[in-house]
């Protein structure tokens, strides 16, 4: 793999150049405490000193609602208006791993053109990061990334070490070759390795994912599930913010004054009450505990069997999002026999249901 170097002050000129050919998306700061990926008009909007955005970058590839096609009795017209040339800058390793899982999921058994057309038109430019108390990607082994990006920027002091991960990434560099330096020295590599060692030590959260797969099986009827079911607000937030969740619903919307319908594809969340409702009003997962079991089976067990990796990439979003502390950390540790201090654990003392 080719590695080049970029001086910090040359980053914006480089982004300026490449954003001529595609829409540039990057993390921006909204108010004092939250970040989100936004389409960038002015490079000064970018705030690369972020830990996690509220929604993961999959929203850029497949937004919450898209139009799939228009249909009438006579005609069928496909709509790919959500597809355009995009470059996403500043994606952390966990989210790149999340997109790898999505790529796999949407091509594995059935090829999903609505995801893949958009994905193929999107270049991914990763960026290094530093963990906070909720990051657990070291436990999921997604704290480093060796594939799945076009370029990856690791910031060491005032310089970026840039990994080129694809020929498209190489083309981007060539567009502004004079900004980059090719003379990576042993000293640079040493600095980078030292930084990586320091970062490894900075993780505050650890979960034993190797055992979770079996524990999920063994503890399928554990009282834990009743407890989390009691507390879950069925708000769907954990699902909507997770970089590997991919469920959707199809809505048929007839258009007033026209003879066709618009068929829309909207994000859905298995933690919501109506997700498993079928024709006739039957609901297969009416109980919140059953819905949470499904979610955690996917994160801890099924994906390992199907794709060889857990369905969790350790981004910590469910931890910072769930109002009642139901997340991979508390559920994982609890499955592992640890007594966790969380609202759902405390609630059980007060509510009988």
């Amino acid at each position: 793999m080719k590695i080049v170097k970029l001086k910090k002050e040359n980053l914006f000129p480089f982004l300026e150049e490449i954003s001529k050919e595609a829409d540039l998306w990057a993390p921006t700061k909204v108010e004092s405490d939250r970040h989100k990926f936004q389409a960038i008009d002015d490079l000064d909007q970018i705030d690369i000193e972020y830990t996690r955005t509220i929604l993961p970058p999959r929203k850029i590839i497949l937004p919450p609602t898209i139009n799939m096609f228009q249909a009438s009795d006579k005609e069928y017209k496909e709509d790919f208006s959500h597809v355009s040339k995009k470059i996403i800058f500043g994606i952390h390793p966990c989210d790149l791993h999340g997109l790898l899982i999505m790529d796999n999921f949407f091509t594995h058994e059935f090829y999903d053109p609505y995801y893949m057309e958009s994905r193929k038109n999107t270049l991914l430019l990763g960026h290094s990061c530093w963990p906070d108390e909720n990051c657990l990607c070291k436990s999921t082994r997604t704290h480093i990334i060796k594939e799945g990006y076009d370029l990856f920027f690791s910031k060491i002091d005032d310089t970026y070490i840039v990994w080129i991960g694809s020929s498209k990434g190489d083309d981007l560099i060539r567009a502004k070759e004079d900004l980059f330096e090719e003379d990576i020295s042993d000293k640079d590599i040493k600095k980078y390795t030292e930084w990586g060692d320091e970062r490894d030590k900075a993780f505050q959260t650890e979960i034993n994912f190797d055992s979770l797969r079996d524990l999920m099986e063994l503890k399928y009827d554990d009282p834990l599930w009743k407890k989390v079911g009691n507390a879950c607000l069925a708000c769907g937030s954990c699902t909507n913010v997770c970089p590997t969740c991919n469920c959707y619903n199809i809505q048929d919307r007839p258009v007033l004054g026209e003879n066709y319908s618009e068929i829309k594809r909207c994000w859905d969340a298995c933690t919501l009450e109506n997700y498993s409702e079928v024709a006739g009003g039957e609901n297969f997962r009416e109980k919140r505990s059953d819905r949470l079991k499904l979610w955690y089976t996917h994160k801890f067990q099924v994906y390992i069997t199907e794709y060889g990796k857990p369905g969790c990439v350790g981004c910590g979003r469910c931890i910072s999002t769930c109002p009642v502390d139901i997340n991979v950390k508390t559920v994982g540790k609890s499955l592992d026999g640890e007594k966790v201090d969380s609202f759902w654990n405390r609630l059980d003392k007060e509510v009988t249901k």
């Binding site: 919450p64 607000l233 069925a234 919307r253 007033l256 919501l272 009450e273 109506n274 405390r346 509510v351």
Partner: protein, 260 residues
């Protein structure tokens, strides 16, 4: 007159008429609406009314007088399909917050004193399904344009209404708000039906439940969560009761038992 178009009536009981106004406010689509159906009753738009049979009746407002009970029963008899629109019709609205008969009587005396009503008698406000069978619901305060047009178009084109209730949190996350509950602010988003576009949390204001309770809301958990965060029990109940009309009465009774 039979022109093959569906006959529609839009009725207003006790409420602010905001839902009827919203329908009139669909300026861009108004012509298409009037072209698609035959509007027989719509007092906000025209004083001409008929008493013909209706295919669809859209009913706004809660039931607050004996006269309205009769009117409503009449609407049910006339119409094939009845849709409750707006939270006054779906849950009872703010005017239905005094659900205890004694409490209601005291309030009534406080406001009207001993004035004698001659044309009708007031009764405690209730949602329309307290008196008649409702075929589908369209909550909102007022209803949302997009949801109204969707329901209207579906029904007019002969499709069944498609109801997919979810809490405000769903849109709130799409809008990438940091959760207010996690910042110690009492947000009712998880308990409230979505449709407003999470407009309050978008502006850092907690959801106060104006679209009414969502199906499957976990009241117990949120109640205890807020209690743990230091909110006063009465204040939480008051906030939950503001827009839930008659729909949370059982829950409040159960809480009363629990706190004893």
């Amino acid at each position: 007159m039979n022109n093959g178009k569906l006959k529609i009536g839009i009725f207003e009981l006790t409420g602010c008429a905001g839902d009827a106004l919203l329908i009139l406010d669909c300026e861009k689509e108004l012509l298409d609406i009037f072209k698609a159906v035959d509007i027989q009753v719509f007092l906000m738009a025209s004083s001409e009314v008929t008493d013909e049979k209706l295919d669809i009746a859209l009913v706004e407002g809660s039931v607050s007088t004996e006269k309205e009970i009769e009117e409503l029963k009449d609407i049910r008899e006339r119409a094939e399909v009845v849709v409750a629109i707006g939270i006054c019709a779906t849950v009872g609205g703010i005017q239905a917050r005094f659900t205890d008969p004694k409490e209601w009587e005291n309030k009534y005396k406080e406001v009207y004193g001993d004035i004698e009503m001659t044309h009708t008698k007031a009764v405690p406000s209730k949602p329309i399904d307290a008196y008649i069978t409702v075929d589908t619901y369209l909550p909102g305060c007022p209803i949302g344009k997009d949801q109204f047009l969707n329901l209207f178009t579906r029904v007019v084109k002969g499709n069944l209404p498609e109801r997919y209730p979810r809490p405000v949190c769903v849109t709130c996350k799409y809008n990438e708000n940091d959760c207010l509950l996690n910042k110690g602010i009492a947000c009712l988003g998880p308990l409230t039906e979505d449709g407003c576009g999470s407009i309050c949390p978008n502006h850092n204001v907690p959801c106060f439940g104006c679209w009414g309770p969502v199906e499957g809301a976990n009241l117990t958990s949120e109640y205890h969560l807020l209690q743990e965060k230091g909110f006063d029990i009465e204040a939480i109940k008051k906030q939950m009761a503001n827009y839930s009309g008659t729909k949370l009465v059982e829950f409040f009774k159960q809480l009363k038992k629990e706190s004893k």
